[in-house]
Each structure stands twice: as structure tokens, then as C-alpha cells.
């Protein structure tokens, strides 16, 4: 059926409204992504002969990457980090906080503020603050706490580096999880809980049969956002460990930085970035499919 003049005009207006956003999206997201793909097929560098005259090297960066144990290590470390801090740590604690804050608690406002507080500190400041808490020696906060209980102290960032960055990132991300999950919880009508209660359902049964299924779209949306954003975490972990010791906390983002700005190999760094982008894309599509959201 042919579009009416009014419909065509409305479409044109819509395009005009969207155009600035599309231009910005193209300039700052799509073009850099395409350029990164181009760079990944070259030996472009920040210094040395390749900086003056970069060459097309075909798939060399990718074959090097798939044979690079450090790349696989970075991918593995990122997987554990995302699983530990975003999917388990932030989600569980965020959900607990969201449920707790729906009840009439004493000091509810204070409790909410405390949970939001980690987001108030810039990530590098937060990183340095955690260094002072987790450092070796008898004066560091965590060592003082454990020695109070008669337990041995340690240089926590050296002995348990990956666990520590998971803890720190969980601390930092609870607020976001809580806000999103609170919004999800508020969409569940109270009448359903009341009816279930009258039917004799226990709190555990109500959580399993009502809360979780009805919140599933919100949970999956949260998982999508937190997974993709946690894959891209850089500043907090870089300030804490710089990817060390010995690559134990070298996330894919830090690996990309190290290849591009420490080894100055922009082409190789771009190849790693392209793979990281693909991983994020695959996870994003998987979540969207699971949530049965139409995009």
C-alpha cells in the first residue's frame, strides 16, 4: 500500500530528528570500529619503521594472536573476572540489596547511600584506596583485620590478585545492579505475592516461582549490560595491579593497552580489540535471544 503524504512527511521528520545521533554514532562508534578492523590487518606501530610506513600484513596479527599464550591467558582472566564480579558478585549482592531495600528497614536511606557510595569515587582514586587496604605489611587495613583474629597477614594483591580484583569490582558495581534490579522488582504487582501467601507459599517458593521468572527480562538485561561493561573494565584494575603479577590480572582490556601503548604495536593491539568486540557481540546476541527481545 502506498504511503500517504503525511506518512512520508512524518518519516522525513523522524530521519531529521535521528540524523545528529546517527552522525555522532557513525563518527565515534562505527568509524573507529571499522578503522580498528583495518588496522588489525596492518603492522601499524607508534614508533619504529612501521610507524613511518605501515604495511598490509594480511592475517599475520590474527595467526600470531591465536598462538599467543598471553592472549589466551588474558581471555581466561577476563572470563573469570566477568563471572566472579559481574555475574556472581554484583548480581547476587545487588539482588539481595534490592530485595532488602524494598522492606521497611531502619536506616534504609543510610543503607542505600552506603551502597551508592563506591560509584562516587573516580575509579583510579578507588583503585589507590584499595591498594592501601590490600597492601602487604602490618599497617594495611585488611592485614590489620586478619591479624586481629590471629590469622597470618599477606600482600593480598600479590598472593590472591584475581580474587582481589573481583572483590573490588564487585564492590564498585553493586549500586548499578541494585538500581536496575530494584526497577525490575517494582514491576511485579504486590497482589501476586499476597495471593501466593494466601495459598500458603513460603518466601523461598515465592522467590523461585514468582520473583525470578517475572524478573527474568530485567535480569537478562542486567547481565547483558554488566557483562559487556565488565569486559571493558580497565582503569580500576590498571590502577590496582597494572595486570600483574605475571599477567595474573591482565584482562583483555589491559592486554590491548599493553600491546598498543607499551609495546606500541597498534596493529596487533587492534587485532586483539577486534576479537574482544566479537566476543562482546556474541554474548550480546546470546542475551538478547535468551530475553526474546526484538531489536
Amino acid at each position: 500500500m502506498a504511503k500517504t503524504l503525511q506518512e512520508r512527511r512524518a518519516e522525513r521528520q523522524l530521519m531529521i530528528v535521528l540524523l545528529p545521533s546517527l552522525l555522532l554514532l557513525f563518527a565515534f562508534v562505527i568509524y573507529p570500529a571499522i578503522y580498528s578492523v583495518y588496522l588489525s590487518f596492518t603492522n601499524e606501530a607508534l614508533t619504529g619503521a612501521a610507524a613511518r610506513a605501515p604495511r598490509f600484513v594480511g592475517l599475520r596479527n590474527y595467526t600470531r594472536l591465536f598462538n599467543d599464550a598471553k592472549f589466551w591467558n588474558a581471555l581466561f582472566v577476563t572470563f573469570i573476572f566477568v563471572l566472579g564480579s559481574a555475574i556472581i558478585g554484583q548480581f547476587v549482592l545487588g539482588l539481595v540489596s534490592a530485595i532488602a531495600l524494598r522492606r521497611r528497614l531502619v536506616f534504609r536511606t543510610l543503607f542505600s547511600s552506603i551502597i551508592l557510595l563506591p560509584n562516587a569515587a573516580p575509579e583510579v582514586v578507588a583503585g589507590f584506596m584499595w591498594i592501601s587496604m590490600l597492601a602487604g605489611g602490618d599497617h594495611a587495613t585488611l592485614s590489620r583485620i586478619v591479624s586481629f583474629f590471629g590469622l597470618p597477614t599477606a600482600d593480598w594483591l600479590q598472593v590472591f590478585p584475581l580474587s582481589m580484583i573481583i572483590v573490588v569490582n564487585t564492590w564498585r558495581g553493586i549500586a548499578t545492579a541494585m538500581i536496575l534490579l530494584t526497577a525490575g522488582l517494582s514491576t511485579i504487582p504486590q497482589e501476586i505475592y499476597e495471593a501466593a501467601r494466601m495459598d500458603g507459599a513460603t518466601p523461598a517458593q515465592m522467590f523461585r516461582r514468582i520473583t525470578v521468572p517475572l524478573m527474568m527480562p530485567t535480569i537478562l538485561l542486567y547481565m547483558l549490560i554488566s557483562t559487556v561493561s565488565t569486559i571493558a573494565v580497565f582503569g580500576l584494575v590498571y590502577a590496582l595491579t597494572r595486570g600483574g603479577p605475571g599477567g595474573a590480572t591482565e584482562l583483555i582490556s589491559i592486554y590491548i593497552y599493553n600491546q598498543s601503548f607499551t609495546a606500541y604495536q597498534l596493529g596487533y593491539g587492534a587485532a586483539v580489540a577486534v576479537i574482544a568486540l566479537l566476543v562482546s557481540l556474541v554474548l550480546g546476541i546470546a542475551y538478547v535471544r535468551a530475553a526474546k527481545v526484538e531489536i
Binding site: 603492522n43 607508534l46 614508533t47 613511518r52 595491579t241 597494572r242 605475571g246 607499551t262
Partner: protein, 430 residues
């Protein structure tokens, strides 16, 4: 109408004036507040003498981050007109990238250059035979040791003759005092220091004292490289060197600023600046009578010989793509002046490259540096080549693996060779 025309003319005039002013502005990138302070009077002199405006941009970051920022700007074509470089190792690569303007003609014609130590001049010459940097300051490094601690424990303070002798001394220190006997900077966290302040000291006295062949290729498979890593391995395995602090984010803080002043680390490589800034009058943890209680040894060779390492300290260069290359070169010669050298020596503790500085009354007040300056000509150095920045990173990675006791000396050498080969390609290797 007339008003509009007048307004337009004013705007054009203003535009032309600002363009002219812009053309007469030189942008200098300096590393750290101390460097900016040291350049203050030089900047005023350049402005007065050359009739330009100098804009000083401070990049207050660790060496590695400073270099990354600088390279990114240069690569993007919007780098400063003049800039200081954190180490000699970066120069050859930057020359290959086309970032640095050659200054051979200007510097050789400049009267001040005749008084520079030969070692500085040699260090400034790039593999292509041209000079690209102003080698006005030298980093002179040796082993610094706690004379008081050794004397109290009845341990000889004589110059160790060989590597074995040095390790034996470190063992004796550990056995008699319980303190760590020797530190060579190592690991990824120390950045280029693992190479500049550690590896280089030993390789120059090894069986293969150069890592660059005559045709400019990197030769890292030599016996000397493995033997150097073996020294690290021995120090680490025998617990003669502090390991745990070196794996942290600021590895120099605990060993140099806490352990050494407290006598818990007795010997470490360091440069002339250590007498003033690490343990002297400008230190937060000064050692009383530092010149008396802290002595120096040259670094012994594997089978004898004595080596004092010389590097260019923060050499300055001109951006090849600067809009004011000729003006920037003139400003560069001012940076090479005796006055600037003394100013840097006072604030950073490096050694002026000009012999004339010895007569300067202001320099004579820097009593810690005077004897080191007098002996600076004897400095040893590695022949430079493109790829040294990558070698430095490879050494950091290899020594990091040694610190974590994951590899032996041969394994560390393999990490170094593999990293450099992967990064620079087979063509760059012998």
C-alpha cells in the same frame, strides 16, 4: 554598512595577528615538575633571545606513560615542537619513525658542543650516523652500598672483581647481617628501569657485551644474555635480592626508599641522583652523612674489568613535523647551555655533559656530583639500535618471570628472544 566593513577588517586583522603569534610560539613538552622547574630560566632566555613565546606542557607521568603520550601525539601529527625523552633506548626507534629532526649540522657548528664529553657525543649519534638529540645530561650509574653496615659486620668494602665475587659478597652480607645483599631492578612494574638500571649494567661486562650486530640487527641469543639472567636467578634463588616488592605497582619505593635507608638492603644499582634525591638532602628518608656511609663500586665484569654505565638522561629533540623546525633547533641549542645543565643537575641530580661545567660556581656547590662529573668520560654504554624499546620491555618480562621463579636463565632468555622476535619480526633479529 561602513561599520560592517570596519568590523570585518578588524576580524581579518585579528585573525592575521593571532596566526602570526601562533607561528612564533614554541611548544615544549617536559617530563615532571622538577624538569619544568629546571627549565624555567632557560625558557625565559629562549623567549628573550629568539623573540618567541614558549608554552611549556608538563606531562607528569611515569616514564612509560610519558613516552606513550608523546608517541601518540607525534604519531597523530600534533606533537610539541621540542620535547625531552625518558631514555636513550627510545631514540633509535623514534628516528626510524621519522619523528625527530636531524640536528647534526647545527650541533657540530655550535661552540658549546666542543666541550661535551666524547661519551655524550657518541651516545647521541644514531645508527644512521646523524645526531638527533641534545645530549646535555648524562645518567652515570654504579653500585651504591652501605659502607657503614659492611664495616660494622666486618665485611670487606673492597671493589668486587668479578660477578662471582659480587655474588659472594651479597651472600656474606645476607649471612652476617640478615639484610638483602644486592638489588638489580627487575620485572614489568619497573618498566624500562629493568633494562636501563639493571640488565645493561651486567651485559656490558658479559662474554657478549653488545646486543647489536654491525649491520644493526639485534643479537639476543648470545651466551652473555643467558649469563646475565643467571646472575638474577642466583640472587633470587638464594634470597639475596628482595623479590616481593618488585612485583608490586611501584617496585622502587620499598627497596630504595625504605630498605636501603634502614640498612635492610645493603647494595643496589643507582645513579648520581641517589646521593641527593633518594637518600640525601632532598630525600624523604635521608641517610645521615650519606656521602660517608654510602660508597660506590663500579659494576664488575663477568671475568674482570670495571664498568660505569653512562646513558643520556632526558635528551631533548626537535619534532621533525614542527611548523618551526629551525626555530626549535635554535631553542634546542639554548637547552644545551651550561646554565641549563647546572639547573638540571641541581634539580634532578644527573651529570652535565659539558666539561666546562666543572668551573661553574653553582655546580661546585653540588658536592655530591662534582667527583662523578670528573669521571664521567669513563662511562660505558651499549651500542644503540632500533628496537631497543622492545628489548627493554622484553627484559622486563623475562626478569619478571625470574622473580616469580617460573623459569631458569635459559627460559628467561627465550622469553626475551620470543617477545622481541614476535614484536619486531624476524628481520630485526640476527
Amino acid at each position: 554598512m561602513n561599520k560592517a566593513v570596519l568590523g570585518g577588517l578588524c576580524a581579518i586583522l585579528l585573525g592575521c595577528t593571532s596566526t602570526l603569534v601562533q607561528a612564533e610560539t614554541l611548544r615544549l613538552a617536559n617530563h615532571g615538575q622538577a624538569g619544568v622547574d629546571a627549565m624555567k630560566s632557560t625558557v625565559e632566555r629562549i623567549e628573550k633571545k629568539l623573540g618567541v613565546t614558549v608554552e611549556v606542557v608538563e606531562y607528569p607521568a611515569p616514564d612509560k606513560d610519558y613516552l606513550s603520550k608523546l608517541l601518540t601525539e607525534l604519531g597523530a601529527g600534533n606533537g610539541p615542537d621540542l620535547f625531552s625523552l625518558p631514555s636513550t633506548a627510545a631514540v633509535a626507534d623514534m628516528v626510524e619513525a621519522g619523528y625527530l629532526a636531524p640536528i647534526t649540522t647545527e650541533i657540530n657548528a655550535w661552540e658549546g658542543y666542543r666541550n661535551f664529553y666524547d661519551v655524550a657525543k657518541k651516545l647521541a649519534v644514531s645508527p644512521d650516523g646523524e645526531t638527533y638529540v641534545m645530549p646535555y645530561m648524562l645518567g652515570i650509574q654504579e653500585i651504591y652500598y652501605r659502607k657503614d653496615v659492611l664495616e660494622k659486620a666486618g665485611i670487606s668494602t673492597d671493589q668486587p672483581k668479578t660477578w662471582d665475587d659480587l655474588i659472594a659478597r651479597a651472600e656474606e652480607i645476607k649471612a652476617k647481617t640478615g639484610a638483602y645483599g644486592l638489588l638489580f631492578p627487575a620485572g614489568v612494574s619497573w618498566g624500562s628501569g629493568a633494562f636501563d638500571e639493571g640488565f645493561q649494567h651486567l651485559i656490558v661486562g658479559s662474554k657478549t657485551p653488545q646486543i647489536v650486530t654491525d649491520d644493526g640487527k639485534l643479537d639476543l641469543s648470545g651466551e652473555g644474555v643467558r649469563d646475565v639472567f643467571n646472575v638474577y636467578k642466583t640472587l633470587i634463588d638464594k634470597d639475596l635480592m628482595p623479590v616481593q616488592p618488585l612485583l608490586g605497582p611501584e617496585p622502587w619505593v620499598i627497596p630504595k626508599y625504605e630498605m636501603f635507608p634502614a640498612g635492610k638492603l645493603v647494595a643496589t644499582t643507582c645513579g648520581s641522583w641517589c646521593y641527593i634525591f633518594d637518600w640525601g638532602r632532598e630525600s624523604k628518608t635521608p641517610i645521615p652523612d650519606v656521602l660517608k656511609v654510602v660508597g660506590t663500586w663500579t659494576v664488575p665484569g663477568q671475568a674482570g674489568g670495571q664498568y660505569v654505565l653512562a646513558n643520556l638522561a632526558g635528551p631533548w629533540a626537535v619534532n621533525a613535523k614542527s611548523a618551526n623546525v629551525e626555530l626549535a633547533k635554535k631553542a634546542l641549542l639554548e637547552i644545551g647551555s651550561v646554565e641549563t645543565q647546572v639547573s638540571y643537575a641541581a634539580r634532578i641530580g644527573n651529570i652535565p655533559a659539558s666539561k666546562d661545567v666543572a668551573k661553574d660556581p653553582e655546580f661546585q656547590k653540588l658536592t655530591e656530583l662534582v667527583p662523578i662529573h670528573a669521571a664521567a668520560e669513563n662511562g660505558t654504554f651499549l651500542k644503540q639500535a632500533a628496537g631497543f624499546g622492545t628489548v627493554a620491555e622484553g627484559v622486563a618480562r623475562a626478569t619478571d618471570a625470574l622473580l616469580r621463579k617460573e623459569v631458569d636463565a635459559a627460559g628467561a632468555q627465550k622469553i626475551l628472544v620470543d617477545y622481541v622476535t614476535e614484536t619486531l619480526g624476524e628481520d630485526a633479529m640476527k
